[in-house]
Symmetry: C2
Subunit: 723 residues, 2 copies
């Protein structure tokens, strides 16, 4: 739903209010109900089975009885008000049926029917009619070409694919831009014990988008974490707003975004070519916005489940208790790659464990209680209690490896007792207690309810479990940092700056210099000589070899036309001036020579590239990378949406694979990072402050030699300007 | 089992013959059987349930009846021959019991009892006694501290942990160096429909190692693929031999090797410090030996299952048929990151699909048959048949997305029909047919037998399924290449070279030059001047600035003491000689100046580092990386075991992140790669040919400037030499 700002800001009204109505009908009409369609069969069965308090009406113009129940010929003859129409009529009948639905006063619709936007020009035209109709009649429409939703918390399943029982409620709200995957994700959530609040499949998003659903889920009391499968982000600005709200609300968004394989590079840097593709942009935006990006459906479910059931876990320090040395090894490997820590047990714990465990054990963290657990099944649990005693302040969580028989034993009591003991221990021990299996497998049906009743959750497998914990740690760090900075996205935007006179087209170095300098960005000394004599005089004043560069509004890439001369001795400066003027005349006849920039030669230091471009979707984006061959050979850049502050910039620099260069190699001076971050943040701030008037600001290179940090060249492209 | 060469080569005898006997007993004695131990309960139950043709005897000195059966007081009173003793007596009784077992003529043992190598000095002493005893009495012992084995193909489960039914036979042989994980892996295999030939948990490997088991599995007819969980590779030489056999036999080894987090860098390069850690060494060795390295237990099972059930798939071209656009997107992403291809359908296929599918479909590869499959469940299958028609020559496999209800429907017939149709289609279509689900979940119990009966396998989830296909493609490429090269590990070893006289200690540049030159390795020109006058004369002969370097047996790192002078004008060469001699006297008093190497200055080109070191486990290892700051900042090196050929070297260069530098950046000359590979392979060949006499050979740098490739400096450390 293309919401306007008013709607966005008035939580409870606008899109959120509409969706609240959509998802909580007390009466539903299945329009187009027929025994001939499996969709109808499934939707009807779901409404009957999982929507106990909902009145269900079947509507079909010709059938007398469908799914064993009487049928209304049309919406108008139902004779009572209907909160939601679930539409599965043929494509050609949709418009007419929607009008009829609007006429009887029903405002909420799910349209399952396909054949709109995805189906060529005729479908697109139909989609436009549907959109107009919905807007003019003030309808809230989910779809078309969508399976609908399952409101688990509210007890409404208006959903067109089969739902295997049990349907367990829980903290995870799911939105998917794929109806087909909805079935797989629902099933995956069920078998992994991931309880759901609401699941929505958005279909073509003619009116309601995945972002709208996410906005709703963040406000929804039953939802603690949002899991999303996204094929495209239709309204990045909206997405950004939603992500900021989520961060503020402390409800993580976990997103699987397809499209990594799309190699289209759209965010091109002015000078060095295409550095950032869409996917990299999304990576950067998600990281910055605290959106947890995952790579598979399995990781989506495992991470969302973990964050939903364990919002209390913060930090990276794990104490692990396992019944196997092999599990310990794998856990250590995975913890390491996730940046998690396994601090050694304190002396008191080690002593207690040595006393308690069999003599052939070798206690350390992660703990292998040994296979003796087969003889004494309480070994793990007691070891965990010993570890818990000294846990406060030493670890952020205890990870407890466990498993359950796949086939329900005849006597469930031992398992129930174990779960009760764990649930009770969880209350008493001073740090969060996480349960984990070694290998992903379905939570057996008999165990699902036992877990749900006790609010227990099982991290499924070492691989996904550890990755989920890593995601959680990074999420909380990101959130804490954003909240501390006073705003979810790092920092408040910079105050708008006055756009300078003549801000149009392209400003090459000699024009850009003054603007940067005025905003406190350190520039390498250089002055404009307008004659050979002036050049010689300037060069003499530096009393050292100089760099000389053509200054012309028409030449953005000076070296391409031999417009740069390095290591010019002062005595040769006049000649060089004339040669540069000649080069311009030769290669760009008709170009105007504003002069020649003359400045002292710089030789030492590392060169960085700092660029701000305007992405059509995400707005201003900052790129930072090592310049020269580093960026070309390694494609080593870090991206951020603006605004950024110095802490962001420090993170960007640390992300570079070539980061070690800044620390000084082979005797070179380490960069003064604080100062460097300040300068880069200032460049970003200038670009941001200039607002929509600025298209691109590129500093290339920014020279860094210890504390000596200065811009050697800069370029500005104003809105509408062309390089 | 520390097998000697004779045993290794006499397949059928030696270790393989021993293990054949161990895994196929017709009678088993459970020694230490007691109702008080769950181990005893489980082992007995497994023997009874899964070993129908095996006679089981229970042995305990005090009990009359155990597990409801009569008990023998000792091995000697059983009164008939026993093929295998499964020992679970207390640690202190093990030695005595093993002697008794040997006395009655039983030669095969599984020892479950713990408390040996892993349990401190007393345990180690006990382990030594056990090993000696076993050797002297010619016993074949699995363990101690191991759970035993499940010979699914042979119908013997001598295994100490519970086994949930059904236990389905199949192509995957598993060996684990962790008893605890064995249970998780077994369960994982069962629920994913990965049928097993044999599973072995090796315990402490006092006598039989995981490598021995792998050797056995490669010979075992029922095993088509070997899955291994490894904590350590105890005998790398043996492992290498086994891996070569596996490659020759076409039985992939899929290995999960723990220990990535161990940061110990052991394989240190002479000059640039520690570049390769153990784990990187293992990565390189595995890749080279065609061992498929995986990162999680889930990936281990998915990959081994896929390779076991689909040995016929080769190549990277996939045609995919799915019922969901979302699945297509994810598949495309994953295929891309695995280097798999999804070529567009040929025109005939596109036309046929457009005619067949609903009008709102948009057929391309990967194919979304649309949600209309709910209405017409045969949509996917028929679309697959259409795609199959033009498959020959266009794709290497068809990937068919499917799913099965978690809960068995009342009427199984439709599912049986589907599976029959798929099994039959598999025979008829011209390329392999792979089945895949979207999300990992257990193969429902009702489906496991249906799949097994038809030889069908389900790739479980897009993520792991696609990764498995990628592993398979890389495995086959590696295997083909090795077989084509005439030897599993790339190439035949180089012929031994004559070790030069005086091959001891360290040879610095002036000595190393001659040896390299004699073996056809191009050296930058340089000659040894022994006086200032001679240096001046040499420099003058080059008629250009020269580089001058101290030549002294005592100085390996010349620049550390100011022993290198660059850009010396011929006129200054005599002075430079004296200064270099003075620098040596000052910084290394007592060192002998052999002279000063004088050669023409080199400025252009890229510098590579080429080093061969001797790893204590893996033998000679070649490292190749970009020199200078590249290797320091990016830690960007590629490793290979020797021998290598030029194709290997080309692969190594391609693996470097900085590989693009060799292609020429910013107008620099692209390296003549063929020549470069030849030179590096020759360096490696020299190091290999010198055999155990050589410890380290380092060329740093190797200068590459287009076709101009030459060694600028070299260093040799002979066996026992110290830098």
């Amino acid at each position: 739903m293309r919401v306007d700002a008013t709607e966005r800001d008035s939580n409870g009204d606008g899109v959120i209010g509409r969706l609240r109505g959509l998802f909580a009908p007390r009466s539903v009409a299945l329009v187009g109900a027929t025994d001939n369609s499996q969709w109808s069969v499934f939707t009807h069965a779901n409404l009957r089975r999982y929507s106990p308090d909902v009145t269900v009406h079947l509507v079909h113009p010709h059938h007398q009885k469908v799914h064993g129940e009487p049928v209304h010929k049309s919406m108008s003859v139902i004779g009572e008000s209907v909160d939601l129409a679930y539409v599965m009529v043929p494509t050609s009948a949709v418009i007419e049926v929607v009008e009829e639905i609007a006429d009887v006063g029903t405002r909420n619709l799910v349209i399952l029917t396909a054949g709109f936007e995805e189906a060529g020009p005729a479908g697109v035209e139909m989609a436009t009619r549907l959109e107009k109709l919905s807007t003019s009649r003030d309808l809230t429409v989910l779809g078309p070409n969508g399976n609908g939703f399952i409101n688990v918390a509210g007890g409404v399943a208006a959903y067109g694919l089969p739902i295997a029982p049990p349907l367990v409620g829980g903290p995870v709200g799911i939105v998917l831009q794929s109806g087909g995957l909805a079935a797989a994700v629902l099933s995956g959530a069920q078998v992994r014990g991931v309880g759901l609040s609401l699941m929505v499949s958005t279909g073509n998003e003619a009116l309601i988008s995945a972002t709208d659903i996410m906005r709703y889920l963040i406000e929804d009391e039953d939802t603690k974490v949002v899991a999303a499968f996204l094929e495209s982000i239709r309204h990045p600005e909206d997405f950004r707003d939603v992500a900021e709200r989520a961060l503020r609300a402390g409800k993580p968004i976990v997103a699987l975004k397809a499209g990594r394989s799309e190699q289209g590079a759209r965010t091109a840097l002015a000078h060095t070519g295409a550095l950032a593709g869409d996917d990299r942009m999304i990576d950067a935006a998600f990281r910055q916005l605290g959106v947890v990006r995952v790579n598979s459906l399995e990781e989506l479910l495992a991470t969302a489940g973990y964050l939903g059931y364990h919002p209390e876990v913060k930090g990276r320090r794990i104490a692990a208790v396992t019944p196997s040395g092999g599990a310990c090894d794998l856990l250590a490997d995975r913890a390491w790659s996730e940046g998690l820590e396994l601090p050694e047990f304190p002396a008191a714990t080690l002593t207690a464990l040595t006393e308690f465990l069999p003599p052939f054990s070798n206690p350390h963290n992660p703990l292998d209680v040994t296979g003796y657990v087969v003889v004494d099944p309480r070994l793990s649990f007691e070891a965990m209690r010993i570890v818990a005693k000294e846990a406060a302040g030493n670890y952020d969580m205890i990870l407890y490896a466990t498993s359950f028989p796949r086939i329900a034993p005849k006597d469930l009591k031992p398992i129930v007792d174990r779960l009760d003991a764990l649930a009770s221990a969880r209350q008493r021990i001073p740090v969060p207690l996480l349960l984990q299996t070694s290998v992903v497998s379905d939570l057996p049906a008999y165990a699902q309810e036992l877990f749900a009743q006790r609010g227990l959750y099982l991290l499924n497998g070492i691989e996904l479990g550890t990755r989920a914990i890593g995601h959680g740690a990074r999420y909380h760090e990101r959130r804490d940092r954003c909240l501390a900075a006073g705003s979810p996205v790092s920092i408040s935007p910079a105050a708008p700056l006055q756009v300078p006179p003549g801000a149009e087209g392209v400003w090459t170095e000699h024009r850009a210099r003054a603007l940067l300098e005025a905003h406190g960005i350190p520039m390498a000394p250089a002055a404009l000589a307008t004659s050979a004599a002036e050049a010689a005089e300037l060069a003499a004043s530096y009393a050292q070899p100089v760099a000389m560069k053509i200054a012309s509004d028409q030449v953005a890439h000076k070296s391409d036309i031999g417009g740069v001369r390095l290591e010019v001795e002062p005595a040769e400066a006049a000649t060089a001036f004339s040669e540069l003027a000649a080069a311009l005349a030769e290669h760009r006849p008709g170009s105007l020579l504003a002069g020649v920039l003359v400045g002292p030669m710089r030789r030492e230091g590392i060169e960085l590239l700092v660029g701000v471009v305007t992405d059509p979707d995400w707005g201003k984006v900052l790129s930072v990378g090592l310049g020269g061959i580093w960026v070309e050979v390694l494609d080593d850049v870090s991206l951020r949406l603006l605004p950024v502050d110095e802490v962001d910039v420090a993170e960007m620099l640390a992300e570079l694979r070539s980061a070690a260069l800044l620390k000084g190699v082979r005797g070179s001076t380490p960069a003064y990072i604080d100062r460097l971050c300040q300068v880069i943040a200032r460049i970003a701030g200038l670009a941001e402050g200039l607002g929509s008037a600025l298209d691109t600001l590129e500093v290339n290179p920014l020279r860094v030699d210890g504390v000596d940090i200065e811009v050697l060249d800069a370029l500005i492209v104003w809105k509408g300007g062309q390089l």
